[in-house]
Symmetry: none
DNA sequence: GATGAATGAGTATTCATTCAT
DNA sequence: TATGAATGAATACTCATTCAT
């Protein structure tokens, strides 16, 4: 593909990411996406077979950056305090999800909607790995299930972001709320003082 | 409204609840809803101004039952063990959300989508009230924020159900996972043994 | 279906027959068909699943009348002269084909185009039956193959109509030409004088 | 035009002939034609004003070869037997038409479709000339109209090929059928034995 | 109240054609 | 000359909504 083509494709992905997040998958029209990208509607189809392939490309693109960030987390084990690290991780998860959850929520709910090899949906793995590493060096209680604890921590920012995205939910949750909730959960995870 | 009209309206709300939950707001067609309700398409518009009003009616109807259930929870304070109660509550929340979250996720994400008096989206209030009641009788640590703790507990089943609804998410979460995660969080909430 | 619905469907078939014959299958737009029928475009889809089903309906409708006519022909054996009868039959075939050939030519040439149970495309059968009946009573030479003779006779009006339909063909053929050609062919079919 | 340009043009005409015959005029896309010719889509428009001009070029090109073949036929008068010659001619006509009829059928049926100088559509002239030549030397009955007889003979292979091209027609016709039908017609054309 | 036929604006997608390189 | 990216009008089809019965 020519350089110009590459550039157009990138513009399309960026524009589509905005429109999908804002309008949802069904609400996003190819017309609006094209307008947002500053190209003609037909141009979409030079770069993507159809709307779904464009969505998949957006999804992959956004998740890629997130994955990189998440992968680094386990290496923090043993540094600073667990509380600091977990809050840092949770903040990172929140940032990640703020980008990915709108797309998740936007995704078609319909039956015929499985084709994306969604390798990159927010995953517990890095958090589990981190907690296990801390368990080995005694900074996290060894008698709890790392996976369960990870899910408890993960759920907080996820719920916060998801609720924030859902226009009908009346429970607004701030980062302070998230922090406080995580701290509460942490009290059960850290070794007794 | 005649009795017959009343019955038709109820049939429509029930049918629409099924179809919305299954197909999402955008994916649910008035044709399918009408067929599911066993009425003609035009009949919908004798009872509801438009599709959105029908959705609002469904939402209100489903939340009503849930609210009743949730409201009873605070009165359990002091009975059985906190752990039992919280797990019971969390199970209840999960059941509630299993009905409401699909609708939340199904709801139009579009900008012009605020008109529903969404009074009834899953709320922390009963859980907060319960925890505060238990704090007063010393069965929950007094040095934590009841609201934060409630959110930490609430987030777990919410995240589980929401992830289960999102077709692209690869993280499947079972009730056992939910229970384990809640137990982990509880360890930080209950008084040290 | 209501009476009004039946009437609309009929109007659609009639209008579509005109438009298909004039523009070909690909050239006929649903918009023009709807306009020709005096209905909205969407109305087509209340009565037919898609454009192809509409085409199939047109084809069936037009062929139906033709079939009735063709079926009566064999019973003419033994009446009048063979020459008169054959010319009458050929004239009938020409009339039939004048309606059907434009549709045949209009039909999609594409690979995925087999679904019509085309029971009614111009068929040799009645002509063969007629010739065989005349052979039995000695008014047609017994030493020729009735099927071959029927095809020779059938080909003449068919070729005339088809050439007339093809806008690039420069060979204009009149009914007089058809009659003369059939008479020529007949000389080989009738018993020697 | 440069030599390279000439070559490209020829490749385009050859590729287009294949694609038009296979897909029909409407079904043939410039994209597929370009791919079949191994050139870029834009290249078509350096050599032809538009798709129709390309079609016209194809048509002219294919007919040219056919014309050459047909023109030689009258010179066969007096050689071999008439029956042999006519069957040979008819076979030639069938071969010719097998190339041209698909294009004829493929051609746009639409009203605005006359601009091609269609000089070369299958013509009766050589066959008429041949029959007249044979009439002069007494090998064909003098009391029949050569033009009518020619059309009767011409119609058979034409109908056979055209029916074979039309996807909805159920009447499959083999070369044996064509031969038998021509023999039947010939019996009326040759002098009584 | 209920029906279901009719509507028409809106959707994703195609494709002949143009144009900058 | 050739490329291939970009265009945008046109297409078949959908679906919430209206309306005559």
């Amino acid at each position: 593909m020519t350089e110009r083509g590459e550039a157009t494709k990138k513009r399309l992905v960026d524009a589509a990411a905005r429109v999908f997040a804002e309008r949802g998958y069904g609400g996003a029209t190819t017309k609006e996406i094209a307008r947002a990208a500053g190209v003609a509607e037909g141009t979409i189809y030079r770069h993507f077979a159809d709307k779904r392939e464009l969505f998949a490309a957006v999804f992959k693109d956004r998740s890629a950056a997130d994955l990189e960030a998440a992968v680094k987390l386990p290496s923090l084990a043993g540094t600073r305090t667990v509380r600091e690290n977990v809050l840092f991780l949770v903040k990172a998860i929140e940032d990640i999800e703020r980008e990915v959850v709108p797309l998740l929520v936007a995704a078609p709910v319909s039956v015929d909607a499985q084709p994306i090899p969604a390798q990159a949906v927010p995953s517990l793995a890095p958090l589990v790995a981190y907690l296990e590493a801390e368990q080995r060096i005694g900074r996290v209680r060894r008698d709890i299930d790392a996976r369960a604890a990870a899910f408890a921590l993960f759920a907080v920012p996820f719920a916060a972001v998801a609720l924030g995205r859902l226009p009908w939910a009346r429970t607004a949750v701030s980062w302070e709320d998230v922090r406080a909730a995580v701290e509460a959960a942490l009290d059960g995870i850290l070794p007794p003082r």
